[in-house]
C-alpha cells in the first residue's frame, strides 16, 4: 500500500496526506492507498500540487504492522522520526503551516 508525503513550504517539515485531506506531521495519521485506489491517489496528488504549499511530493510504499504504518524505505523511516545521529527532533509545522487541499 502507499501513502503521499512531502515537505511543507514554510517550515520544510515532513508531512503526510491524512484521511481528511489535511497535510499533517504524523505518519500514523496518513491515508493509505490500496492498489485499487490509484485514481484517488493521483487526484489527491494533483490537487496538492495545485496548492503550491507542499514540495517534493512522493508516493511511498508502506506496510501495516498491527496498527502501525511502517515505510518500506529507511529514508522514509528517518524522515518520519528525524535524524538518528546526532539525534534531533524532526522539524515541526509552523502555526500557520497546516495545509488543506
Amino acid at each position: 500500500m502507499e501513502i503521499l508525503t512531502g515537505n511543507e513550504l514554510m517550515s520544510g517539515a515532513t508531512v503526510y496526506l491524512d484521511r481528511a485531506g489535511q497535510w499533517v506531521e504524523d505518519l500514523q495519521q496518513a491515508r493509505t492507498f490500496g492498489a485499487e485506489e490509484a485514481e484517488a491517489r493521483d487526484t489527491a496528488l494533483a490537487r496538492t500540487k495545485a496548492t503550491g504549499r507542499i514540495n517534493s511530493i512522493e508516493i511511498e510504499t508502506v506496510k501495516r504492522v498491527g496498527d502501525t504504518i511502517v515505510p518500506d524505505r529507511i529514508r522514509e523511516r528517518i524522515r518520519a522520526e528525524g535524524p538518528t545521529a546526532p539525534r534531533f527532533d524532526r522539524q515541526h509545522l509552523d502555526e500557520d503551516g497546516h495545509v488543506s487541499i
Binding site: 515537505n7 503550491g52 529507511i74 534531533f88 522539524q91
Partner: protein
Amino acid sequence: MYRYDEFDAAFVKARTDQFADQVMRRLAGELSEDQFRPLRLMNGLYLQLHAYMLRIAVPYGTMSAKQLRMLAHIARTYDRGYGHFTTRQNIQFNWPKLRDIPPILADLASVEMHAIQTSGNCIRNITTDQFAGAAADEIIDPRPVAEILRQWSSLHPEFSYLPRKFKIAMTGATHDRAAIRFHDIGLQAATNATGDIGWQVWVGGGLGRTPIIGKEISPFVPHEHLLAYLESILRVYNRYGRRDNKYKARIKILVHEEGIDTIRAQVDEEFAAVKGGVLTLPQAELDRITAYFAPPEFDRINETRVDVAREKIVNPAYGRWLERNLNAHRQPGYVSVTISLKPIGGAPGDATDAQMDVVAGLAERYSHDELRVTHEQNLVLPHVKITDLAALYAVLVENGLAEGNAGQITDMIACPGLDFCALANARSIPIAQEISKRFGAPERQAEIGDLKIKISGCINACGHHHVGHIGILGVEKKGTELYQITVGGDATETASIGNILGPGFVAEAVPDAIERLVDTYLAARTTPAETFLMAYRRLGDAPFKEALYGAD
C-alpha cells in the same frame, strides 16, 4: 583579510533584497516551486529530508572572529544551536525556516558574508590550503589570487549556467592540503625557469560516481594571464560539456573522453584569442588585493620551539594535542593550530553556537582575528604564538574542543548522509561515530599514526571516500544500508583513488572490518614510520582483502 568595497557591499545587499522579494513572492503564491527552486538554489537554499538547508560561503575558508560570531548568532537565533562545516570550507545550517532566510542573509551581509553560488551549475566557493599565509612550506599565499578568482567568478555572465557545477581549489605550498587534483581545476603555485612565481594548472579531476585524477594542462601560467587562461578553460567546457546527461556533464568526463591533448589545444586556441585583453590582471590590482592579506605584525619571540616530549610526560593530553594539532609557521615563534571538530563519538564537522563564540574569542585574542575552515571539517587559528599555546589549550579543554587527533584515524571526513541529505542512500554520521568510539583511545590512535578515513552516504562522494586511505561508501540494497570499503586513496600530491576490495558490510560490522584492516597494517609495517598508506602501496590489496574477507 579582504574587506568589501562599496561595490561588494552594494552587490550583496542588492542580491539579499532581491532574494527576500523572491521569498515573499513564493509565499504569496506568485512563484511556483518550479520557478522558485532555481532561485533559492542560487542563494544556497536546499530542501533536504527534514527541512531547508542553507549553505553559506566561507571564501577560501578564511573568516574573521566577527563573522564566526555571526554564524553563532544565526545558529542560536534561527536554527538549532549548531552548524556543520563542510568539505568546501563552507558551513551549513540544517533547520532554517523559509521566512527566516531573508533576515539570515541580511545578517550575513552585515559581516560581508553571503550564500551566493554555494549551489547551482556555476563556479562554487574556491577552496585552498587551510594554512595559507602562514605555512612554513608555502611558496606564495594563494588567497589574493583566490579572492581575484572569487570576484571574477561571482555572477560571471557566461558561467552562471554551466553544464554542471564547477569547483576550483588552489594551494601555494608544495604539499597539497587542498586536494587540487580532485577538482575541476586545480592550481598549484609554481616557479618558472626565470624564478617567477605563477600557477601550474590541473584540469578534469573529480570524485563522485566517476573518480578521476586531474591532468596537467599547463605547467606554468603567470599571474597576469591566469584569469584569461581559466576563462579559456571554462569557455571550452561551456561549449563542449555535455548537457544531455547530468552524470556525464562535469569537465572530467569531457577531458576523459576527448583527451587532455585535444582539450589543451582548444584551450590554447581560446587563450590565444583572449590573452592580453581585458582579463589581463594588472600588477597594481594584484598588489591592491594582496595588501588585504598582508601578514599581521608578528612579535619577535625568543622561544621558538615547543618541548612536546616534556609536555607528553607532564600532561599527556596536552602533549598529544601539541604533537598532532600544530603546523609549522613561516614566522619563528608562531604555529598554526588545528581545532578539531572531531570529538570522540561526535558528529564530524559540527560546532555549537557556544563553541563558535569561543573560537571567535580565541581568534581575536591569540590569532590576529583570523581563523580558517579546513576541507577536512576542522577549524584553524593560523597565527598563534607558541607562548600562548597552554592558555589557548585550557580554553579548548573547557569547551570540548581539545581533541588532539588531527590527521589520525578519528579525524574523519563524513558527509551528512541519510540522516539529513535528500540524495543519500545510507547514513554516514553514525558510522563515523562508531569508528571514533572504537579507536578513541589516544594510545591506540598514536600507535596507528597518520590514517585518513573518509565516509560518503552515496556515490556523489561529498565525504571524499575515494581518496580516504580507508574509504567507506554507503549504499542501500534491498532496504538495508551496506558499506563498501576502499583502501589506498590519497588526496595529496601523490594522488590515488582507493580500490574496492569486495562486497559491502552491514553497519554493525564496519568497525570490526576497519579494525581488521588496521591490525593487518600494524602487523605488516616495517617500522612505525611506515604509514598505513605507505604499507598499502608496498603490500598491495592482498593482505587487506584477506583481512576483510578471509583467504580465497
